[in-house]
């Protein structure tokens, strides 16, 4: 499973990445995490409000720092 975090590295993006990592670890998933920080790459993915979260290439949330629990729901 591939988790992607879109964001330029501001605090919100870091928090989202942290929550996603914890969620995946607590579920015991086999995952790979990718951080997309280049602004043109972010735009290409169709993200206009950061931070955004994608699971296996599919955008699941934009412009919001999801909590660990919310991410767990998405991962399951």
């Amino acid at each position: 499973m591939k988790i992607s975090i879109y964001g330029t590295g501001c605090k919100n993006c870091l928090n989202l990445a942290k929550n996603a990592k914890m969620a995946a670890e607590e579920l015991g998933l086999d995952f790979e995490m990718e951080k997309v920080e280049d602004m043109t790459e972010i735009a290409k993915a169709g993200v206009m409000s950061t931070p955004a979260l994608a699971i296996d290439g599919e955008i699941k949330a934009k412009g919001i720092v999801l909590s660990k629990e919310d991410i767990k729901d998405l991962l399951q």
Partner: protein, 316 residues
């Protein structure tokens, strides 16, 4: 009620005397701090609730097929309500241009959005009343519309970096949030914004309170009052590098005004702080060439200076 609380605390509990410099400064500090933080929390919640209905993806969809002028007005209005942090301005720019939103409308959106800062709006309302807050809101929209139309008229499409036109964007979906998610979004905004800005609010009110109690009036009236034709110009030049502290600047401006600084000068100062910030310009440079960047800065700076003089002239 807040005034009563501040009276009680400063004059009764701590025994400072009303009418003395120290007493008045402290009273100003306590009164403003309680009032501003309270109002900020409540109003950011409701503003964020409204903003949750206008993610950038929806704003883009609305703007895709609008006629000139009306589209610029709409773009500016949406600039007020669409939430995004400055690090998203490049993805938003690319997204707008890619889907065919005209360059001028894109700029109307990008100009108004930072000028009409929701926190600044709440603070202006709480410190100066709704008239000044409305003037600030309307002039921010006005600057965005004018700026966008000028950029459109100059046909600067080739001043956008070429790669922007070559990007094709994956399918976009607009998320539909339910009410609980909107409330969560608004709550998060309150928590995030208040925890980020309270320091600046306190510092700003502190400096404001000091000026309120101690600064000599004649001096400020002489240098920054309606009589000095260069005051607005200088205020705008000083305002550009001050981005991060806009919330701290408003209480300072409030007390400067009480000491004789002209209102247009104060408004121009605040707008220049949010509209033209160095970090935002550096980010924008990624998608537009230097010529367009210079035109953008010139148009916005001149509009803000013009508004400053207009208000000084009208509101004396």
């Amino acid at each position: 009620m807040i005034r009563y609380l501040a009276d009680l605390l400063i004059y009764k509990l701590f025994g400072f005397e009303a009418g003395t410099r120290l007493g008045d400064s402290l009273h100003f500090f306590v009164y403003d701090t309680i009032k501003i933080l309270f109002l900020l929390a409540i109003m950011i919640f409701f503003i964020s609730l409204i903003r949750s209905y206008f993610p950038p993806e929806r704003t883009k969809k609305i703007l895709e097929k609008q006629p000139k002028f009306f589209g610029n007005v709409l773009a500016s209005l949406l600039g007020v309500v669409t939430p995004f942090c400055s690090c998203s301005s490049v993805p938003i720019f690319i997204g707008f241009i890619e889907s065919g939103v005209p360059l001028g409308m894109t700029f109307s959106f990008l100009i108004t959005s930072p000028i009409v800062n929701q926190i600044a709006l709440v603070m202006l309302y709480s410190l100066f009343g709704w008239q000044i807050a409305t003037i600030y809101l309307l002039s921010g929209i006005f600057v965005g519309v004018i700026g966008g139309i000028i950029i459109e008229t100059l046909h600067l499409e080739n001043e956008v970096e070429e790669y922007v036109y070559q990007i094709s964007i994956d399918k976009q979906e607009i998320e539909e949030l339910n009410m609980q998610e909107r409330i969560d979004f608004a709550k998060n905004e309150v928590k995030d914004i208040v925890s980020r800005i309270w320091k600046y609010v306190l510092i700003g009110i502190g400096i404001g309170a000091f000026i309120y109690g101690y600064a000599p009036e004649d001096l400020l009236t002489q240098y920054a009052g309606p009589g000095n034709p260069f005051a607005v110009l200088i205020a705008v030049i000083l305002g550009i590098p001050l981005y991060a502290n806009v919330v701290g600047v408003i209480p300072i401006v409030q007390s400067l005004l009480s000491k004789g600084v002209a209102i247009g000068t104060g408004l121009s100062f605040m707008m220049s702080i949010t509209a033209l910030s160095l970090p935002a310009l550096i980010i924008l440079r990624k998608v537009i060439k230097p010529k367009l960047l210079i035109i953008f800065v010139t148009v916005v700076a001149l509009s803000i200076i013009g508004l400053g003089y207009l208000f000084n002239f009208l509101l004396i």
